[in-house]
């Protein structure tokens, strides 16, 4: 179990690095993106496998941890939280469920004259689309929550001067 968790955490780290690379991240943020993805994915996997959490709740907990992590790390390397947690969250995007939902629609349309078969595909569609939407909502809410709780700190992560006491009203 531990070995599998470590392998999956490493895979998530490299997946975040690669998918993040498409979006041109800062060089200094790359190691932190990998760490956030690895820790988040390991937590999600452990919660699902050990404690029996469902995918949405486990994603919420993992992304919350990643949100706090990006708030802490963002201050150290002067990067906005979103530039750290968005690429780190990319391995969590339920792409497989999303396009299984699309396939279910196509298969439903192909079997529209066979109600029993069509009903199965309709069932698949709802299952996949509900998982997709719920997971995307949970990961976004979880990672963004620290931004709302510590909004003043989150707004000034890229500030380079020591004059952080000046409050910006925006």
């Amino acid at each position: 179990m531990i070995e599998e968790t470590i392998i999956r955490a490493l895979c998530a780290a490299f997946a975040a690095l690669g998918f993040g690379a498409v979006s041109n991240p800062s060089r200094r943020s790359l190691p932190f993106i990998m760490v956030l993805a690895a820790v988040g994915y390991a937590l999600r996997y452990q919660l699902m496998q050990t404690l029996g959490f469902d995918i949405a709740t486990a994603t919420l907990a993992a992304s919350l941890l990643m949100g706090f992590g990006s708030l802490w790390l963002g201050g150290r390397i002067r990067c906005p939280m979103t530039t750290l947690y968005i690429p780190a969250l990319l391995p969590f995007v339920p792409g497989m469920y999303a396009y299984k939902a699309v396939f279910s629609i196509i298969l439903f349309m192909q079997n529209i004259n066979a109600p029993a078969e069509a009903f199965l595909h309709l069932n698949d569609f709802f299952l996949n689309i509900i998982v997709t939407v719920t997971v995307i909502l949970c990961m976004t809410v979880g990672a963004s929550l620290p931004m709302f709780i510590f909004s003043r700190r989150a707004k000034s992560l890229t500030r380079r001067t020591a004059n952080k006491k000046t409050i910006f009203r925006g």
Partner: protein, 261 residues
């Protein structure tokens, strides 16, 4: 303090700055906050309306009782987290050090000229990432290898298609078809037949094009009350997922005569 020409110049800069940030995939609240911060440094007030492809902004100078309005297209540029970080830092620099508009423009153009990550390195990293993604979905080493090769080939094609300036949705259909076709083709070679988990490999071979960034920023925008642009971003992402499925369906029908994996 401000002559009309100066106010116009500042408005033009803020319009360009906001258009670049939005094009680079930054969520609306940050764009508004950064732009307002720069305006505040010059004693100006900013009002901005953001649509899916345009921005309307008005800068007003309360001291001189002058206003200037500009409508600008959101730039169609690739998502860039580096621009997000550097342009946010620039807004703080203007606010803290009171840089004049000429200095700001110079720093801005330096940031804009920074080169993106090397294309070959990105292609390699994306291929490794998708192979790792395959492992997360339960793929074995053989299927990871298949996904690596098909992603590499698909991403090369995507780069080529983008150079030709073909519409992005059409590009996604073509690349999705090509990647999954390559994966299915390799899996049917006698050497690999029955040795790899083809189902997971084929399903994962197109996932590198799932638009994760607009999906996440779209939801953030919705939560932060920018429903219009949030919805537009989500719809664009859903359209890309549909295109992915279409491309994959074509290769599935050619190879297996059915859509079932």
């Amino acid at each position: 303090m401000y002559q009309s020409a100066k106010l116009k110049e500042t408005t033009g800069f803020i319009a360009d700055y906001a258009a670049v940030l939005l094009g680079a995939g930054v969520h609306c609240t940050r764009v508004l906050r950064n732009s307002r911060r720069i305006c505040e440094a010059y004693g100006l007030e900013l009002t901005m309306t953001i649509f899916a492809s345009n921005i309307i902004l008005t800068l007003s100078d309360p001291e001189q009782d002058e206003i200037c309005t500009e409508v600008v297209h959101i730039r169609q540029i690739p998502v860039s987290f580096e621009l997000n970080a550097e342009l946010s830092a620039l807004s703080w620099k203007v606010f803290d050090n009171k840089l004049n508009i000429a200095q700001v423009k110079e720093e801005y153009s330096q940031i804009m000229q920074k080169p993106r990550m090397n294309n070959w390195l990105v292609t390699l990293l994306v291929s490794v990432a998708n192979a790792c993604f395959c492992r997360l979905f339960g793929g074995d080493l053989g299927s990871m290898g298949l996904v690596f090769v098909s992603t590499f080939a698909g991403y090369l094609l995507l780069r080529f298609i983008k150079k030709l300036g073909i519409d992005h949705s059409l590009a996604v259909i073509l690349v999705s078809f090509f990647s999954s076709f390559t994966c299915l083709g390799l899996a049917s070679l006698p050497v690999l037949a029955g040795q790899v988990n083809v189902t997971v490999a084929v399903a994962t071979s197109v996932l590198f094009m799932v638009p994760g960034v607009p999906l996440i920023t779209g939801v953030i925008d919705m939560f932060e009350n920018h429903v219009l642009i949030g919805f537009a971003r989500l719809m664009r992402a859903i359209l890309i997922v549909l295109c992915l499925a279409v491309g994959l369906s074509i290769s599935m029908v050619i190879f297996r005569g059915s859509l079932l994996l």
